[in-house]
């Protein structure tokens, strides 16, 4: 619950599962989430270790390539898996809080070896949580393979993939209680979930997060509320109503979305509880025939003592604060107000809602809040947040796809 605070103990998340079960996708999303809420987290995989090793041939994919005759590839795989584990240990001992491991973990023997390795090598308190992705729905598997093909393995055919998977399946052993490991099993992308020996605040959060993941590629629209009196006067904060121009822009926004959403009424529609948010959302909502859910979580950042002042007035009255903010914009807290870190914390439940939703999502909010939401999908470091541009009268459309997020911006005239 505390941003930017070290965990009491290090956490290792180990992924288990056959290829095309979404392990990489899960690790990527988890890693993004954990970094966003303020932990230092990184992924360590065979692929990653391969990329760090200049002496190796980068064309062969050691993670996937299995030729039962080719002993050399098997050996290299094991070596890379081991290297990834070593890199993980170094990371946690120096600066990391949480590490995700995507290596050789498909047999009981491999898992016990890994467990012992961590115990010997890590000189500090740590917890290991195992995440297994299981899939027996052939359609889902084919979809996953297609996604992988597009991003990683462009030259392989589906048949070759299936062949590779069949070879690896032969030695595969699913997690069992007797192994005495704390784990979660995700079956068919959340259709069924099994949790064993769940312990600790972080793992609890991670489980809640994983329960909401799905593979639908739906659009997320981020829009600022329209123009207010304060904009015209260059004041920050406050709870002003829309200006006449602002109301006009809201109408145009509504028209844009009528075309964009093509009559779809199943939209997850949120706005804040500030007058400008509500007014913009009401106008847009009326055009679309939907009603926004108004939540205080999306209220603009609290400017504390600077609320209602113009930028010039703040520079004159509180020069010390301006300096502080320039030095560390992410952690700077307006006196009696909030920092970006506070906003991230406040906005976290909204991220859960967005992740959970399989329908398009439309959010009408305010600059600082949208910066934080945007960063979750786009930025690798939250230190980038203060520099993100969220212009007014602009619809930012995000479409998260595996390993990536597509973005397009449309200025509404």
């Amino acid at each position: 619950m505390q941003q930017y605070k070290k965990t009491q103990y290090k956490l290792i998340l180990v992924l288990v599962g056959l290829p095309a079960r979404g392990k990489t996708h899960i690790s990527y999303k988890l890693n993004r989430y954990l970094n966003w809420i303020g932990y230092k987290s990184e992924i360590f995989s065979i692929k990653g270790a391969q990329q760090k090793d200049d002496k190796l041939d980068q064309i062969i994919d050691y993670e996937l390539e299995i030729d039962p005759e080719n002993q050399q590839i098997v050996e290299v795989r094991q070596k890379l898996s081991f290297q990834a584990a070593q890199q993980l240990v170094t990371f946690l001992q120096t600066e990391g809080d949480i590490a995700l491991y995507n290596g050789l973990t498909n047999t009981k023997c491999d898992r016990q070896k890994l467990k012992s390795f961590f115990k010997e090598q890590l000189q500090l308190e740590f917890q290991v949580f195992w995440i297994e992705s299981i899939c027996d729905d052939p359609q889902v598997i084919v979809n996953n393979i297609n996604e992988s093909k597009q991003s990683r393995f462009k030259d392989k055919t589906i048949e070759q993939f299936m062949n590779h998977i069949n070879v690896i399946s032969q030695d595969y052993q699913t997690l069992e209680n007797i192994e005495n490991l704390s784990y979660i099993k995700l079956i068919n992308i959340g259709k069924q979930v099994k949790v064993h020996m769940l312990e600790g605040y972080l793992c609890s959060k991670i489980v809640s997060f994983l329960l909401n993941l799905h593979a639908n590629n739906r659009q997320i629209y981020l829009v600022r509320s329209c123009q207010t009196e304060y904009h015209i006067l260059d004041k920050i904060g406050g709870d002003p109503e829309l200006s006449a121009m602002g109301k006009q822009h809201s109408q145009q926004l509504g028209d844009y979305f009528i075309e964009e959403l093509k009559g779809n009424k199943n939209i997850t529609f949120f706005t804040s509880q500030m007058k400008r948010g509500i007014q913009t959302a009401d106008i847009v909502g009326e055009k679309l025939g939907i009603i926004a859910l108004k939540t205080k979580n999306l209220d603009e950042i609290d400017y504390g003592i600077c609320d209602g002042l113009t930028v010039k007035e703040i520079a004159a009255k509180y020069p010390k604060q301006i300096k502080e903010r320039k030095a560390n914009p992410l952690e700077f807290k307006y006196p009696r107000g909030e920092s970006f870190l506070d906003v991230i914390h406040r906005v976290e439940p909204i991220i859960y809602e967005i992740e959970r939703s399989r329908d398009p999502v439309l959010i009408i909010a305010h600059v600082a809040v949208l910066k934080c939401l945007y960063a979750y999908y786009h930025c690798n470091q939250i230190s980038e947040i203060p520099n993100i541009e969220i212009p007014i009268n602009c619809v930012i459309k995000l479409v998260p796809i595996p390993y990536h997020c597509l973005e397009s911006r449309v200025i509404i005239k």
Binding site: M1, Q2, K5, N177, K191, Q192, V193, K194, V195, H196, M197, L198, Y201, S204, V207, S208, L211, N212, D239, L293, T295, K296, N297, D307, R336, E338, D342, H345, P349, E353, R356
Partner: protein, 446 residues
């Protein structure tokens, strides 16, 4: 955050042998839902049976071969379900059916009745499985001995009879299987293993997280306000003032009190210690933290209610400057929102993550915060109704210790005199409360 589509009703049904914590789970969920603002109620099969068939039933009544008794019990269960359906039809949001429901046939019947009564109702089945005889014995001791069924029987006999009753149920017990096509959660051995099957939707996902973190550890929760602050002395609201001299003395005495509460280093290191980010609370917490050699976690979520434009004013000044708001607040203290500030309802929503954290923790919890915040926290655990929240008595210089016991909380108030360190204690035990209630025949609602 109330994101539930209000037109979508939710029915939750428990499954499991007696003494598996079904009523505990039902009550906890019910509390949580009501807290979040949904209209929720529990319908206990057992209570209907007691009302209609009387409380003198021994284990033979539960014999599956006893046809007459079976019919009576089945009728009672149908009544409970009917009342639940009526509740949902008349404005209720969540209905919880607390019963054993251990046969596929029964579950199938209930699922059908529910689905045919409402369009788009979401149903969730929660099965509690437990093979640990120690846990079961403990459950029986805590909750069954005082049960109206056994008010004329001595504890040993009651336990024996109850264990026999469980054996009757075991004969026909069928665990939930996937082919029944139900959305379910199975929790085994108090959360050691959990299986979630086909559970979708905002509220249901929240329930899953909630249940995953439930436990029955009787860990104590300590609530205390910061020591007296400058603004308290001046009778002003809001602000970020520091402690007065008296407040500083309280901090010292509070530290002494906690030092004696937690004698060993081991216990001290496991305490979960939260405070807010406001000066008066941080200052108080730092004094305590130093004495106990532990670190508090400062959460903005625990900051006092935001009084917006009234920040820094006295109540007299507010009455003069904003007479309309002053009146409004008097009438509706719960929903009234200070302009540019918060209402108690906002507060209740804001502290939800903290409540979740406290529920989850199996170690003692210590919270040093503010009046409005503590009113909300206290109300949740002490099971007060939400409208009571704004007027609950949370005095300065007093530690409130809540210890979960069966379905409620034992309460102990320790008033500490900041100058002399003198302590006076007021205690309220749950067991007596429950015993007095169970003497009455009707046990429908506690």
């Amino acid at each position: 955050m109330q994101q539930c589509n209000r037109s979508q009703k939710i029915a939750i049904c428990t499954v499991g042998l007696p003494a598996r914590g079904k009523t505990y789970i039902s009550r906890k969920l019910n509390r949580y839902f009501n807290w979040l603002g949904y209209k929720s109620r529990v319908f206990i099969n057992g209570n209907y049976r007691r009302e209609i068939c009387g409380t003198e039933c021994n284990s033979q009544f539960f014999d599956p071969q006893n046809e007459e008794a079976q019919k009576a019990r089945s009728d009672c269960a149908k009544m409970a379900l009917q009342d639940l359906i009526q509740f949902l039809q008349n404005g209720g949001d969540v209905g919880i059916l607390d019963g054993t429901n251990i046969t596929k046939e029964r579950r199938h019947q209930i699922e059908n009745d529910l689905k045919s009564s409402f369009n788009g109702i979401q149903t969730l089945w929660i099965e509690s499985i437990c093979n640990d005889s120690k846990v079961i014995q403990n459950n029986i001791r805590l909750t069954k001995i005082n049960n109206p069924d056994y008010c004329n029987v001595n504890p040993e006999q009651a336990t024996i009879d109850f264990l026999n009753r469980i054996k009757m149920y075991e004969q026909i017990y069928q665990t939930i299987t996937d082919d029944e096509n139900l959305s379910y959660i199975k929790t085994m051995n108090v959360g050691a293993d959990i299986i979630v099957h086909q559970v979708y939707g905002f509220l249901l996902s929240k329930i899953v997280s909630f249940i995953m973190n439930l436990h029955t550890y009787p860990r104590p929760i300590y609530l205390s306000r910061h020591g007296e602050s400058q603004y308290n002395v001046d009778d002003r609201v809001g602000g970020d003032s520091d402690l007065s001299e008296l407040g500083e003395m309280y901090a010292e005495k509070l530290a002494d009190f906690f030092y004696s509460e937690f004698p060993t280093k081991e216990i001290k290191n496991q305490i979960i210690f939260f405070t807010s980010t406001m000066r008066r609370a941080v200052h108080t917490s730092d004094v305590v933290a130093q004495k106990l050699e532990i670190q508090p976690l400062q959460l903005k979520t625990l900051d006092e209610i935001n009084v917006g434009i009234c920040d820094g004013m006295t109540y007299t000044e507010i009455a003069q400057k904003f007479p309309n708001d002053f009146q409004e607040r008097k009438i509706n203290k719960l929903g009234y929102r200070y302009p540019r500030g918060e209402s108690y309802l906002d507060l209740i929503s804001r502290i939800e993550p903290v409540i979740f954290e406290i529920e989850r923790s199996r170690q003692p919890v210590m919270i040093i915060a503010h009046q409005a915040i503590l009113r909300c926290l206290y109300a949740y655990f002490h099971q007060n109704e939400i409208p009571e929240v704004p007027t609950l008595d949370i005095p300065l210089h007093c530690v409130i210790k809540l210890t979960p016991a069966a379905y409620f909380c034992d309460e102990k108030r320790v008033l500490i005199n900041p100058q002399t360190g003198e302590i006076s204690i007021k205690e309220e035990y749950v067991q007596e409360f429950v015993r007095s209630k169970s003497k009455q025949k009707s046990f429908i609602d506690l």
